[in-house]
Symmetry: C2
């Protein structure tokens, strides 16, 4: 049996299982401590009512002969692609052709499946720390990525330089795990660099809904020239609470062509038409409802809820004089481990002294060795309790 | 931009667009003729009520904080994997470990994504005529498949021979497009052959629900030795009317290992965990409901409906003395073009004389050059009218 031996080179994905194991062991020793997870990378607010109603209507339709729907278009129903085009036009002043929008079951699938349309020998570059899917889906193909590092030296916003020679460049903006966000001018540097080098940017905009400032780019297509070099991957997951519902989309501009005129839009459509059979009709109706004015109103309430949490976390860190970035245009706060601890030492320290679970930054790459990630996805009550415990920690220290 | 140039070698997938174009042109010339599509490869019966109810309940749950679900397990919820294991045990007397069952958005995705876990240089073999996805997903990787031919000479059930040297062998049983079904003894030949050669069989069981005879194998795991050589891909699409709902599953036995002990189950789980984020919670609840006794009762009614259609088609072909196979354990009938016509000539002939749309067999491979595919997926009323028109055709001819 000729298996793909590159799979054997994958890093053991032990981050989350190790977090769970240490948490479990702590809880067994201290059953009275109520543990609070500020490590959650998943939404917790329920779906907007208008989304639930739309999906229920779609279920009903599927139960009647006259309104039943079988196979839909592999690339998504036109009405959902229209709704996304309208959303981009109205919210970000970005004009998209509906044929440039291809619906999928989520950003994770697209971010990794997109590699199918590139040459097996294409080279890739990505940030460290990074969403592990970028790295692992490339290791599976036998690639050794180039890294550019997000550190305090570059304010965690690495910019292109001549060391990067890759054919494919991943950018996540606002970034997971650091929670920082590029300005237009910074993003323009990436776009210009990619165009000069004929590289393709795979732009992960899954957290764009958290951007709080209209001067910051929500879509890479707000940047001149991006239509010639960038593929944007986006999702309803974090925006509309669809992590368990599953709907995303990828935008491949028609201007994105090789020098001999091969359209990447055509390649991606062909990939999806051949190897995918479309997203559930029910789910697509839910996504359509999420983009209605009523849907967006509910969504904004949920986003405000998470923002309030993350704002409280930031305030608390300020009071503690702990160094951090992110959390303004992102649900994520990237915290420098206090007291020269490593990420795992900080994890153990926080768990033992406060019952708070964080995510050790080293799980996202070597540049996360001295960092932890906190998130605003827990309930407000839990977040507040966690912050009180953190502050109490400081008072204890003062009295020590 | 370094694109995957193998995409440029893909055959133009013009079959269905050409069918649509010729149908449109005919309708424009003869607006009074009511066209009947016996080309439909999609289900048309609505979902069972118990499935609709389960999905609506799941939608409601997603709208409340206490019952909301975010990310589920990438490989599917345990309760759905349990339900599938129970179904295999009770219906086919096949024992599966729930860890061997991995839920997905459908058979098409799995049949093509499974290639990820094999070596880039692995060779493949498949039937001609064939479901185009097997071929195209391999061409995308730069592979030239070996073909074994389903023809009248082997009763459309090709068996292994020494010309087949591939690492990966696709089998579809009951077969699309020919509608024929291997016996246990025949399937055993494939299993023994694969084990001798250390090949892996990718077994597409998407049409197993149409098998009418308990002596025929519904799952390849009914065959001794299959757990050492076969991956089974199955789906709720044709069985439960899920073509627009999207749910399938792939079974990778734990016994399926390389000679140095690498588990293909582990590889596939790793692939799905890294490059996929699970199926919609709502859809999984629907699939679970489909496998309940009430769900299966509704499903069997729908399957009986399609069977009645296909039985009528077969009877009509018998009366016409047209040669065909399939249609007993399958929704598909593979018809030899009458009057020495080619597939497209037969398509035009049927459309012009009866208003019936068929699928030209050549769209599935060179061995389909003189065949058309008819299906039982239209309504009974339409199928009956189509059959009457076919019979009238014979009477006309007698009077010519």
């Amino acid at each position: 049996m000729k298996i793909n031996h590159h799979y054997l080179n994958l890093p053991e994905n032990y981050l989350f299982s190790e977090v769970a194991k240490r948490t479990r062991e702590f809880q067994a020793c201290f059953p009275d401590v109520s543990i609070i997870k500020l490590s959650i990378g998943d939404v917790s607010r329920p779906l907007p009512g208008v989304v639930v109603q739309a999906m229920k209507r779609a279920c009903t339709e599927m139960g009647h002969g006259k309104t039943f729907r079988g196979y839909g278009p592999e690339i998504g129903y036109p009405w959902l692609r229209d709704a996304i085009a309208k959303h981009y036009r109205e919210q970000f002043q970005v004009e998209l052709d509906v044929d440039e929008i291809i619906i999928s079951d989520g950003a994770k699938s697209d971010l990794s499946n997109l590699l199918d349309i590139f040459d097996h020998n294409a080279t890739v570059a990505m940030c460290d720390p990074v969403y592990p899917v970028y790295l692992e889906s490339n290791v599976m193909l036998g690639r050794k990525p180039q890294f550019f590092y997000a550190t305090a030296i570059n304010n965690f916003l690495p910019l292109p330089d001549e060391h990067i020679t890759a054919d494919i460049i991943y950018l996540c903006n606002p970034a997971n795990p650091t929670g920082v966000c590029y300005s237009r001018a910074q993003l323009k540097q990436w776009v210009d660099f990619a165009r000069q080098r004929q590289s393709v940017i795979i732009y992960d905009a899954a957290y764009a809904c958290f951007i709080n400032d209209s001067n910051l780019p929500h879509s890479i297509y707000e940047i001149d020239g991006a239509r010639e070099c960038a593929i944007e991957v986006n999702s309803f997951s974090k925006m509309a609470g669809f992590t368990g519902v599953r709907c995303g989309y990828t935008i491949v501009p028609k201007n994105l062509c090789t020098s001999d005129g091969v359209s990447l839009n055509q390649l991606w459509r062909r990939r999806q038409t051949t190897k995918f059979n479309g997203v559930s009709y029910i789910v697509q109706r839910g996504a359509e409802a999420a983009l209605t004015p009523v849907g967006l109103q509910s969504i904004n309430k949920n986003l405000a809820y998470y923002r309030r949490n993350v704002c409280l976390i930031r305030k608390t860190l300020d009071q503690l004089h702990w160094s951090y970035v992110g959390g303004i245009h992102s649900p994520y706060v990237w915290v420098r481990c206090p007291g020269y601890r490593t990420a795992w030492e900080c994890f153990d320290f926080l768990l033992k002294t406060t019952g708070i679970v964080c995510t050790p930054g080293v799980g996202f790459g070597t540049a996360g060795e001295s960092y932890i990630r906190l998130t605003g996805f827990n309930t407000y009550a839990n977040t507040r309790t966690a912050c009180q415990r953190l502050l109490a920690l400081q008072n204890q220290k003062m009295h020590e």
